[in-house]
Amino acid sequence: MDEFLQFLFSGLTRGSIYALVGIGFAIIYNASHVINFAQGEFVMIGGMAAVFITANAGLPLIAAIPLALAIAGVAGVALERFAVAPARGASVVTLIIITIGASIFLRGVVEVAIGKRDYALPAFSGDTPIRIGGATLHPQSLWILGTLAVVVLALKWFFERTRPGKAMLATSHNRLAAQLAGIETRHVMLTAFALSAMLGALAGLLTAPITLTRFDIGIMLGLKGFCAAILGGLGSPYGAVAGGLALGLAEAMTGGYISSAYQDAVAFAIILAVLFVRPQGLFGRAGTERV
């Protein structure tokens, strides 16, 4: 039982990270029908920027976090502006290749500029484990779970109560109607990329104290986030949250009760299973639509 509780904590913690990354996939997919395979790089940028700012610029964490989020936001806008927007109207496969190219570029820049080592960010509230039942919980896990809860509520408010949020929803439901209503769909795209990048970065700097961070951490986390998003139906931010938590729990249980060697295989198995159930591919529907 204690063992189970321990796996549960671990699963929820990593699941929350996948959820944050997955929400980013969902928001960009909704606004533009692009599957942004550079999403994982925003996670890396968030963690690496926070490390770099605290260690090299000597700023406290409380200042480093918003700065790291801003840097990721700018990277997201740049990705849309310089890589995705110029390919407007291209096929989905082309766009996927473009985002993969952009991710290789971003990874390379960080590798050269900062280095190949593992970097650690100090935990937000120390490293003293909290005992619950017979299991322990890292205080950083509480930050991660709490942040996910706040993000979900904030997104709900954004999409249901604010003008830009509703405009983004309208654009995803029917882009033509949005244009005819005078909504600047270009701005919607930029907002979606900035928002997704910041959510990814948030995941990256939240997880850095536990898992460490390095220039290529985005490959795996991007894939897990993608898995969370497709489990949730690809176009739904809330679905991605459920998908992320499910994936995290499945991984933790697999790692705990079977073998940690198989842990990372869970996401691959899920992606393959989804592709198998939908043989036309995830991109079948998106393929007929324009960006």
């Binding site: 003008r163 509703k166 405009a167 929803l169 309208a170 439901h173 029917n174 033509l176 109607a177 949005a178 244009q179 005819l180 209503a181 005078g182 909504i183 600047e184 769909t185």
Partner: protein, 240 residues
């Protein structure tokens, strides 16, 4: 380029638009006067929708579009809405999962909060059924109700020119009558209307002037009653 008479609200000249190699508009010239109800009729695939899309700026086109005396050919779609052009697109295109009231509010995206509140009241006065269903997702409305919503949504931007693309499509005869009655009321209230229809008899009957379009070209133009009486129009579009 010849400048049209100053009271022309919309002037289109030499408009060409393509889908890949298909030329859907092959040089369209037309004009809509302020306060006029203009009908454009034509068969399947004539290019009517493409023309309206080009006027709204959501379809790339060559040639010139002038609105209220200003050349808007290079203006992005969102700014054309601000300038006063609204469109009710073919197939209604409501935001299905969003509540009726949100559909209306977003129709007034270019307007202030006060104007939006006012516009929603006007929409409810015009179509009371929308008020009844204000909290329901637009996708759950019937076809006729969705068409009313699409018209009300377009009016939220307070347009000077309203483009209507086949508003009667797929509706039962009684609803078709109601939609045409609405169009007449809008005209009476001073809105300039460009009505595209396959239902040629109903459209020409209420129109001041009409154009006939075939395979990307304007082939006839005259007053509404004159076109209704024309033998060729009767044969081709009225099934007489």
């Amino acid at each position: 380029m010849k400048a049209g008479p100053p009271d022309m609200l919309l002037e289109v000249s030499g408009l060409v638009s393509r889908y890949g190699r298909i030329e859907a508009l092959k040089g369209i010239d037309l004009a809509v006067a302020e306060g006029e109800l203009l009908a454009l009729v034509g068969g399947n695939g004539a290019g009517k929708t493409t023309l309206l899309r080009a006027i709204s700026g959501v379809q790339p086109a060559e040639g010139r579009v002038r609105f209220a005396g200003e050349d808007i050919s290079a203006m992005p779609a969102a700014r054309r809405v601000r300038a006063g052009i609204a469109q009710v697109p073919e197939g209604r295109q409501v935001w299905g999962p969003m509540p009726v009231e949100d559909n209306l509010a977003l129709g007034g995206y270019t307007r202030s909060a006060a104007e939006v509140a006012e516009g929603i009241e006007r929409a409810y006065a015009m179509f009371p059924i929308l008020k009844e269903k204000r909290r329901q997702p637009a996708g759950t409305l019937s076809g006729g109700q969705q068409q009313m919503l699409a018209i009300a949504r377009a009016l939220m931007s307070k347009p000077r020119l309203l483009l209507l693309d086949e508003p009667s499509m797929g509706l039962a005869p009684l609803l078709v009558q109601e939609i045409f009655a609405t169009v007449k009321r809008l005209k009476a209230a001073g809105t300039t209307i460009f009505l595209v229809e396959q239902n040629a008899s109903a459209a020409l009957a209420i129109a001041d002037r009409g154009y006939v379009m075939e395979t990307g070209r304007i082939t006839m133009q005259d007053s509404g009653p004159a076109l209704l009486a024309d033998e060729r129009v009767k044969a081709a579009y009225l099934g007489i």
